[in-house]
Symmetry: C4
Subunit: 315 residues, 4 copies
């Protein structure tokens, strides 16, 4: 395996350090999160509460909100029941269960501030509990609705990458390594910058270390992501990949980290997107099919469903 000599810059390692990769583990997951497990966090770690609630799945979020609503109402129902039979005006309950249900629904009406009033608190105790419950209800719902809206409006990149990375014909150097991306959102992305880090295991003096090479690109920047963008690394003499074979890549647990930065011109925020191509994602000798055509007025029509389409070249 013939890697060209090149001074190692420790700042290229993306923060992973020189440990070799074993057993086909990507360093970065497809969705851009680092493939690292974290333990040893403080047992009661509030630092991640907000992050957890914002990033959990919608399913889990709804289960959590509904459970909290149920549990809190059950709790307050017990309090109202424990105050005594006369605590709720308008309740015609005769059995214990019936009494509890009345207290439960009264609690729900209080916490959501609906307050129909056909059941209403009577006496000092239940009035005080209801006053506190309605106040906490307002604050709790504010948190829930804030989280709901925060989840809904969270700005995040929605970049689709072509499923494969191709070794394709390229005019000046004969061959190039390339993949494509496009914006799945209607948000306008501007001032895009991309970086590709090629990473692989190398055995130097009997010790296996992980190495990182930023790849030269035909083009690192785009002003506007109007269509798709094909990122090309020309396989010229400076490329560390020039003489690598399929087997070399597999044996060295090779992979490509893709780091994209852009400015979202709709929500005025800098966004970042990352992905990872493992050696298995490379298609040798193929080229991408066109992803756009023209409508009758001459306007460009971009078909996002074709972003991964390619054809394997014969010969």
């Amino acid at each position: 395996m013939s890697i060209r000599k090149r001074k190692i810059n420790p700042e290229d390692d993306l923060g992973f350090g020189p440990q070799p990769v074993i057993k086909n583990q990507p360093l970065v997951n497809k969705n851009g999160t680092p493939n690292v497990k974290r333990i040893g966090l403080p047992f009661f770690n509030t630092a991640n509460n907000y992050h957890t609630l914002i990033t959990m799945s919608w399913r889990r979020f709804w289960v959590l909100v509904l459970s909290a609503y149920l549990i809190v109402n059950i709790l307050f129902a017990f309090i109202y029941v424990s105050i005594g039979t006369g605590s709720l005006d308008g309740s015609s309950a005769t059995t214990g269960l019936h009494h509890f249900m009345d207290a439960f629904f009264f609690s729900a009406q209080t916490i959501s501030t609906v307050g129909y009033g056909h059941i209403s608190p009577r006496g000092m105790m239940s009035n005080s509990v209801a006053a506190i419950e309605s106040m906490l209800g307002l604050l709790a719902f504010a948190l829930a609705t804030g989280l709901l809206y925060g989840r809904f409006s969270r700005p995040s990149a929605q970049i689709i990458y072509s499923k494969n990375i191709l070794v394709a014909p390229y005019p000046e150097t004969g061959k190039g390594i390339m993949f494509r991306l496009a914006n799945l959102r209607r948000n306008i992305l501007i001032d895009l910058e991309i970086e590709i880090i090629f990473s692989f295991n190398e055995t130097v003096e009997g010790k296996t270390i992980r190495r990182f090479y930023p790849l030269e690109l035909e083009r690192r920047k785009v002003s506007l992501l109007t269509m798709n963008w094909t990122i090309v690394h020309p396989l010229d003499d400076n490329s560390p990949l020039k003489e690598m074979t399929k087997e070399d890549l597999e044996n060295s647990e090779a992979g490509f980290a893709v780091l994209l930065k852009a400015f979202d011109d709709t929500f005025l925020q800098t966004i970042h997107s990352r992905t990872w191509y493992q050696y298995k994602d490379i298609v040798w000798g193929a080229k991408f099919k066109p992803v756009f055509n023209r409508d009758e007025e001459g306007r460009i029509v971009l078909d996002l469903s074709k972003i991964s389409d390619h054809e394997v070249l014969g010969g």
Copy 2:
């Protein structure tokens, strides 16, 4: 047509690539969005929900909110009716329609958490439905109000550009290409930077490609956009436009992309504004009329309605 030789920098193409423009299509619309149609998005694409709801017209937004309110109440009305006649206390309905209307208005009072209470839920079933409805109502209204406020407060540039781009007299080079802009908002804009990309079709060895030239400007930056700003590209020997005629520009589907970047000092965000001048927007041999004068205390008075005013020069 004599375009000066110049090394093509692929990063100047704004992300549009080398496809020629056909049939008088601007690359960027006047409002700054790219003139590209996008198809092939996943059928159930949630990535754009928020963007759609924030950027749709106010008319459509209100229709949507009112429809949703109506439909949800009709739905819940059916549920209350289906539970049975005795489900709503206080309803004196005798006919089916009357019953439905009572259920509908009860639902509206529940979902908005008004809860007058002259109609109230009776029994396990309708109480449970009402408890869930009031909770969902709070969350749904939180989304609606979040969107309403988000739409209202969304920071965005409101730059007005002069309607035309002029070929006007300019001291040092004889002529210059110029246009004007001003801030329509009272927000203070600082640290403005502008870029003009001249773009046209060129036929090289029988193949028509699109070319992009960033134009040299008299001044690229302004610290404060206090008044209007006249952007000037001097027509000197380095200009690719130096010897182009009106016909050259028309035949080559020429246009000018304007890219403006600024910091909004009221809302502390970087904003971007884009526009496009098509070859048809050029006025040959004209100059802008003054856009400001002094009041009696010597203070500058800027008249934004005159931003496009110019006079065609005789001779």
Copy 3:
């Protein structure tokens, strides 16, 4: 008047252009807004609504909110009254005024979603109006509360500048022009950068134009604004102010624009602050008094009330 020769850089003019200042008008107001009057805005200009509502005085904001609440309730009261006598259940009104007041308070209870229920809508029409009113009430209050919170939480620099700019003794050059600033907020400001533009009228070949010189500073950056910061322009041979007298400054309508940029480490936003010293604000031959001392533990104690304190030097 002997101004040293220096190539004019049009980008130093802050965006004000070469018009001379007349009749003692500062270019920038003390609070940092440009001293320019803007007219000719479209009659129905929605672009500034949010900005106006966020930046208006608290007094005007509360008057607006209360008026809107009053007017909307009067409007809906008229609608309920016009529906007819039986439209409101629980109203025992016999006179027209009494009827109107009942309708008015019912409207207030509906729009704020309190909904006591002692008065409740009766019949199709008033029920429908109430359903719509409660929905619009929720949305309107969302806007009002959003604005209230937006006003309250708006990040903005609160820099206090010394009232005067001093011509004070300075070690290496004999004299220096200096002023002080400090942070009035408890927010931590980091990475501060400052720029001072000296601006004055100059008559060149009979034509008076405004000139702008960025002044050299002893120090342009501070990592943390922990205490006060004294900004010094040394009066050395490169200074355009070196040989200017009090009369020169007055005759040339001289002034100093101060541009400060910092990162607010509490709210994670870049903030900007501007101010202006007119020639009248200069104190010749004075020096600042110390603004901090030590407590018994050796800790620095900064006294913000002394930021402008200086003593005029004898001789």
Copy 4:
């Protein structure tokens, strides 16, 4: 004490100026705030209200919210009572205290917009007060809930630093000064940059001044903070620490300011973290223990509880 000659750059002083440190006072507290006391603020300084409410402890925040709720309800209860006995419909109060309690709970039901309606306002006066109370209640709760959510969602760095700074073996220079950090949050941090300023008292010509040296680092940047990051200052010939002893550091009140900057890729904001190592925090001749290992699939497992673990080296 032999400090190498080096031109002093006043911009290295972090904004603390040349005053010497006395009596073992760190310049920056462990939590990153400057160790400076501020007095002389205007008595009624609204600039810090929001900052105070957002950054106060949760305990104080809840006490404040509950007290405000209690006080406002007591206030409105007095108003309702003062209007007269008949002001509240549904109140069967016969004693003054009972009357007051009814008014108090009615107020709570109004301000939280629950509005059961078993007690309701009667007459012009109490209806008007209730209408205003419900409106103010909505606005006040909006502020409270805004603050609650603002506190909960406030983006802030949660970096843990190793408790000590070690003088440890380092390949090329024999020894290095090092410490470790990791991200306590699950938020992904990218584009990290670090700076270490070494600061100490120095007596020059009989006058003690504070000096500041930015230290050279093995590595100043990391693309992704995936694991821990060990920051190393090699003790080579250029280091001002090269020949300093434990006593030198103590006598000169030495300390290290750590300034970290990163981009939070979950909430799309630039965050900053600062800490301070006092001379007492240095451990001479020790090295850090590993902080991660591999799970059975070869994935890296980071144990955050080991971030400060080190072993003192014998000999």
